[in-house]
Symmetry: C2
């Protein structure tokens, strides 16, 4: 229902609202090939061994080529397929603006209300939308692997600062120690930045760096400990409530903007988007004047 | 002015409108480390040798850590720094929804009006926003490198289907032939998909696969030829006009949605976003009802 965005979705989301707010949302991100699916699968195993109910959302940019068929994710998750305590879903955006931003919070809401203790959100890639999606998490794991691109590349891609826990996967490979050293340096830079903003130092969270070999489940217990410690810190520091409110803000805004976008696209006559776009394309009209026309036709120009 | 989004921007964009529509916008994307900056720099050199005026936009997700300071891009572009026929700018999104989607078209508009023959847009990462940005281009180059992740990974990241030209950079490395074979297979899959949709087969564009070693400028002339051939095809097939209109649509919509988003954030009282978010966070309200309240307060509910 979330993916089809049908009329029943609204009803379901209304009914679920009172049952939400319990699950810990854990985002898992990093460059392609770093081992996100393997790590996710290993985490599911470790969490199930602790009797936690687990949801998994694998978020992929839409691909007409792959259509999910080339993805090995679901295959790799196969060992958990018959476990009632695990729910796994691959979600693709449909190319609509704010696609992931819109559907991911809704899906999280469903898994939360369904009684998951932990929901793992695995995102492919390290782009801005993925950062936005992972920004919705309570706890964000950023995965790196030796030789996949060093700390500088990770900083360049803008993913280090969203990490609550840094994971160096494939830690049995050459260069792992160097990657850990790079990360420690980056974390120390970040700590100094944090300290400069004058917040409460006692309740500060210092990002742990965990080494794993997910394919052999090595280091996964330590990773679960780090995730649990972060959840405790979220509760203790009040940051957890702040992130839940931030997630709700993003969700409300995404629903409202999607509705407004639909209405913009539905406008006819001189305010029809293709008509305006043709005039802007030819240089006859500028995009601001075109946007004014859209907003006026929508009745949201404050003059209606 | 584009980056600061001040009041003069609108005036400037209005004045520039009649002078736009001439430049070929060339998007350059691929995973971190694949050699995008080196390739961009080599392309600038080759285009300048052909006496073309060149603009370069390097689009990075914002990073409080790096703040651009860790980026080597501008350093690597140094050889072009004193050439009046080249304009180079790194742009960072400021974390606002639709940040790149909003500022990139505006910046392209400025460079187009300034008389650039070609504008190269280099995006870091392979995420959804980057795909959206590159989707604004007339011609999209997707870079891969042997051993950086194979064709399957590229398909997984959703970047193959946006390519007009596929570039295997670092083609002197082991595995280059395999990467080319993988891509050829993917392109053949895509061609069959295209053929199935019943369009005009004669005017179809077959994605070329170009091997380069950008660091030594090898293959760059062939790459320029492929870019030129694509521009000719855009003109001949009418696809160029279609893409310009699509770009204008995206631009108008981004300006309108950003303005609506600002208004949503400015609402006060019971419709204030933090107030609604706190109620949604506690489960008292569902996000649809909250979005209704926002839209109603905006006067865009069609009932005002």
């Amino acid at each position: 229902m979330v993916e089809n965005d049908g009329p029943q979705l609204r009803e379901a989301v209304e009914a679920l609202a009172p049952h939400t707010g319990r699950a810990q949302i854990v985002g898992i991100t990093g460059s392609p090939g770093v081992g996100k699916s393997t790590t996710t699968s290993a985490l599911v195993g470790a969490l199930r061994a602790r009797d936690r109910r687990v949801g998994v959302l694998a978020v992929d940019p839409s691909s007409p080529f792959s259509g999910g068929a080339l993805l090995g994710d679901r295959v790799r998750m196969g060992e958990h397929a018959t476990d009632d305590g695990v729910f796994i879903r691959s979600m693709a955006t449909r190319g609509k603006l704010g696609g992931l931003a819109w559907s991911t919070p809704q899906a999280l809401r469903v898994l939360d209300a369904a009684g998951c203790d932990v929901v793992l959100v695995e995102t492919v890639g390290v782009g801005q939308s993925e950062i936005e999606v992972v920004g919705l998490a309570d706890t964000t794991l950023v995965l790196l692997a030796p030789g996949m691109g060093d700390g500088i590349q990770a900083a360049k891609a803008g993913i280090l600062e969203i990490a609550d826990v840094l994971v160096v996967n494939k830690a049995d490979r050459d260069g792992a120690a160097q990657t850990v050293r790079d990360l420690r340096y980056m974390v120390s830079l970040g700590a100094r930045t944090d300290a400069a903003d004058g917040g409460d130092v006692q309740e500060r969270w210092t990002r742990p760096i965990v080494r794993t070999v997910a394919a052999r489940a090595e280091g996964i217990d330590k990773l679960v400990e780090a995730v649990d410690a972060h959840r405790d810190w979220l509760d203790r520091s009040g940051e957890g409530a702040r992130r839940r409110t931030r997630r709700a803000e993003a969700e409300i805004q995404a629903v409202a903007l999607r509705r407004l976008q639909d209405r913009l696209g539905d406008l006819g006559g001189a305010a029809a988007l293709p008509t305006l776009a043709a005039r802007v394309g030819s240089g006859e009209l500028d995009p601001y004047a075109a946007a004014d026309a859209l907003i006026e036709a929508l009745g949201a120009d404050g003059r209606g």
